[in-house]
Amino acid sequence: MTRSKFSGIWKKIIQSKLFFPLLALGIILLFDLITVPGFFSFQVRNGNLYGSLIDIFRNASTVMLLAIGMTLVIATGGIDLSVGSIMAIAASVAALLMNPYVLGTDLSANTLKLMTDPHFTYQPLWVVILVTLIVAIICGLWNGLLVAYIRIQPMVATLILMIAGRGIAQLITNGVRIQIFYEPYAFIGQGWIILPFSLYLVAFMYVIAWLLTRRTAIGLFIESVGINFRSSFFSGIHEKKVKLLAYAFCGFCAGLAGLVASSNIKTSDAFNLGRDIELDAILAVVIGGTLMSGGRFSLLASLIGAVVIQAITTSMYAFGVPAFALQAIKSVVVIAVILLYSEQAQVLVRKFSAQKEAQP
């Protein structure tokens, strides 16, 4: 390969959106490889794959789901702080549909049955999932309505649902943490088909999102609206509808994430489920290179960003860092990553690659 061809490819790699997130991930995994013995080992049990690496991906699946929806919202120049609360609402709705007896005071045969029979549920699974996702979409539509039609600033508009949503989630279950006994539901978050089932959900959502944005004009419109919504409006784009779609889709993803998360702990915990997770989701998107001001986006890069965040967490645990220190260290690492993206660093990298090119 000639010098110039090499630097040409090198340039393409650097300028690709995936470069930095993959670099960040690579650094963290490298760190693990060196310091933690057996980090990359795999085990096969019952035909399924297990291992630390798999754990990272599995634990990251809720954030990955959120990141897909959040990417679109941020790309339109907005933000959605309410995804955690939407998760809680979704979980509450789902749990209630499977076990509404908790609200009553009648120890009917059903309650006893619930506690003992893992295949008993008030509503069939498909109804549970369908209704939950519809509720989640409605939440997303509410956000979209506030942002696109009433023109409330996204941070504020979604702040409202974020605050009120927790209350609503608790209202639905009357403050009770509903236990979920239904096994098939637990499969969503805990099931395994060679790989964790939740990863398949992530892949599925990614494909849907990709088709929606890259195989239709919607992706272009989202980017256009995020960069300059006035120009987009003047060009005939229905910028309101585009934003509405983005928020509704984000709500949908949050609903799905809520199902996965609550299935993981087999409870609907309206108080704690999804708390602070919106921050992780936003961070994933930022690490993935989408600017918070909106515009160009890359779903894949956001997914990688989500994995990076989880990798940091898991690596810390594997490394023996006690839980309480995790938050503090995470913040430092995150700042470091953000600085990597800052203009200063970009300029340095560009200068570096420009120098490489200058060499004859």
Binding site: L107, N174, A328
Partner: protein, 532 residues
């Protein structure tokens, strides 16, 4: 006078959000006083300030941050960190008068660090302060995993000294009731508040803050070109907010006499909500510290109303906070849109009279909506408790019948359940036996029910499944509200025996406790005569 107010408002449109908040606060409190005689006690009003000093102090600092167009998510984390750090230092014997300034310096340092990241490294405020939040909370746990109680004379002095209000005090003595009081923290909060107003309107620093914010960063650009010290000011804004957060953390620790990393989770949003409800626009450039005071008041009054109502569960307060934020933002957006449209129309002026009428109609519609909301909230599914029942004339809790419970256990009962309190002021004791017999005794009559032994077994297995015999299930207690019950539940199963007590209406009890209680409730018989 209404005319004058109307004219003033239409001339100075910028005061409308502030005026609406103030109006809302007054109206809400007024309605409360009408509905709940207990609220007429001036101490209740003063208590709003006592329980919200931290929010007030923090919101004042946050107001500056938001006016400059930024945001600070780290505040509640710094509260917690300050409380833990102070508690730890005090426990280690440090001089409290050294601890306080040290904590303030710590807050300022953190604020300056975040401010520098935002200003010089161009990190987005959202992200920089988010990292700050994580860092602060994380640091809490470096210091201590559990809560640290504070047992320091200075802290007790500062936290519990009652400052009487001249005038009201005399009135109270004359009436023979307790004189209303506030604490030193409240005074400090007001001092901070006044200093902030001075800063905002009488210093170059304050005016520069207004110049920086708004218009999507265009103002910041302009300010720079005008030669204003933008960078220095931005860092100072976050430093000041760090100072306020630390101070708020100190007042928090004074209030609860302890420090813990878990305190104030999520409260940064309440602070932001207070600022927004107080009329400051999140886009920056506009807003008044004075309004923030009313924002905090509104949130505080909401809490009080919900408490007095007693019917609404505590999470309604979150919903109301969200709803209020929504309404106020809505107003802001509408006003903004109207301003933008008028800008396009350039010179066309809407005649003052028309404007005034519109303002009046809009304002009254708004107040009407709030009134309706509050009234509906009061009509929400209630017990037969008459509206206006005073909290103080609550139920005199009857002593728990522990000996009776013990003897029932000797007798062979596997489940002993006692429920005490509530609107009807009852005291019921139940026992479940392995052969399926269930008896109940409420002091006046008895009840009996028979279920199958298998059902009892399932019940016990289920309760055990909920983790009854693990560490997840523990005692909690606080003074119950007027309509709340207290519970005692003893379960015997598989050679183990455990009693756990709990009380309605709090969030401290383990969640599964309520699952178990509800299951047990379902199985017990009803009493014949007294229908609750």
């Amino acid at each position: 006078m209404m005319r004058k107010i109307g004219a003033f408002l239409s001339h100075n449109q910028k005061f409308v959000p502030l005026a609406s908040t103030a109006a809302l606060a007054f109206v809400a409190y007024g309605i409360g006083m009408v509905l709940y005689p207990g609220m007429r006690d001036p101490q209740v009003f003063l208590n709003i300030f006592r329980s919200n000093t931290s929010i007030l102090i923090s919101a004042v600092g946050m107001t500056f941050v938001i006016i400059s167009g930024g945001i600070d998510l780290s505040v509640a984390g710094v509260w917690a960190l300050t409380s833990v750090a102070a508690a730890a230092l005090l426990r280690a014997g440090w001089n409290p008068w050294v601890v306080i300034p040290l904590m303030l310096l710590m807050g300022m340092a953190l604020g300056a660090a975040m401010g520098s990241f935002i200003t010089y490294l161009k990190v987005q405020p959202f992200i920089a302060t988010l990292a700050g939040l994580w860092f602060a909370r994380g640091m809490c746990f470096f210091i201590s995993d559990d809560a640290i109680a504070i047992d320091n004379w200075a802290w007790r002095l500062l936290g519990q000294t009652r400052i009487l209000i001249p005038g009201l005090a005399e009135l109270a003595w004359w009436q023979g009731t307790n004189p209303p009081f506030i604490t030193i923290s409240v005074v400090v909060a007001f001092l901070v508040f006044i200093v902030a107003i001075y800063m905002a309107h009488y210093t170059r620093f304050g005016r520069t803050i207004y110049a920086i914010g708004g218009y999507n960063g265009a103002n910041e650009q302009s300010a720079r070109l005008m030669g204003l010290p933008v960078d220095r000011t931005k860092v100072l804004i976050y430093t000041f907010n760090g100072f306020c957060s630390a101070l708020a953390g100190i007042t928090l620790s004074l209030f609860v006499m302890s420090g813990h990393g878990f305190y104030a989770q999520g409260w940064e949003l309440e602070v932001i909500a207070a600022v927004v409800i107080g009329g400051t626009m999140l886009t920056g450039g506009e807003g008044y510290v004075f309004g923030t005071l009313f924002g905090v008041l509104v949130l505080g009054i909401t809490q009080v109303l919900i408490q007095f109502n007693g019917e609404l569960s505590s999470w309604w307060s979150r919903i109301v906070t969200g709803g209020l934020t929504f309404i106020f933002i809505g107003i802001q957006s509408i006003l903004l849109a109207r301003k933008a449209r008028r800008k396009q129309a350039k010179e066309t002026k809407i005649p003052g009279a028309v404007l005034r009428r519109r303002m009046l109609v809009g304002g009254s519609a708004f107040v009407a909506v709030i009134l309706v909301a509050i009234l509906t909230a009061n009509l929400v599914p209630g017990t037969d408790q008459p509206v206006g029942a005073e909290r103080s004339a609550g139920c005199e809790l009857q002593p728990y019948r522990q000996e009776q419970a013990a003897s029932l256990k000797e007798d062979g009962a596997v489940v002993v359940y006692e429920r005490n309190g509530g609107p009807g002021c009852i005291d019921e004791l139940y026992a479940v036996y392995p052969d399926g017999r269930i008896i109940g005794d409420n002091g006046t009559s008895k009840a009996e029910k028979q279920v199958t032994p298998e059902e009892v077994d399932t019940l016990l297995a289920g309760i055990s499944n909920y983790g009854w015999f693990t560490d997840e299930m523990y005692d909690t207690w606080h003074t119950p509200c007027g309509v709340c019950y207290g519970y005692y539940l003893t379960v015997v199963h598989d050679g183990q025996e455990k009693t756990v007590k709990g009380v309605d209406g709090g969030t401290d009890a383990p969640a599964d406790y309520w699952q178990v209680i509800s299951v047990v409730k379902g199985i017990i018989p009803a009493f014949p005569a007294t229908a609750q």
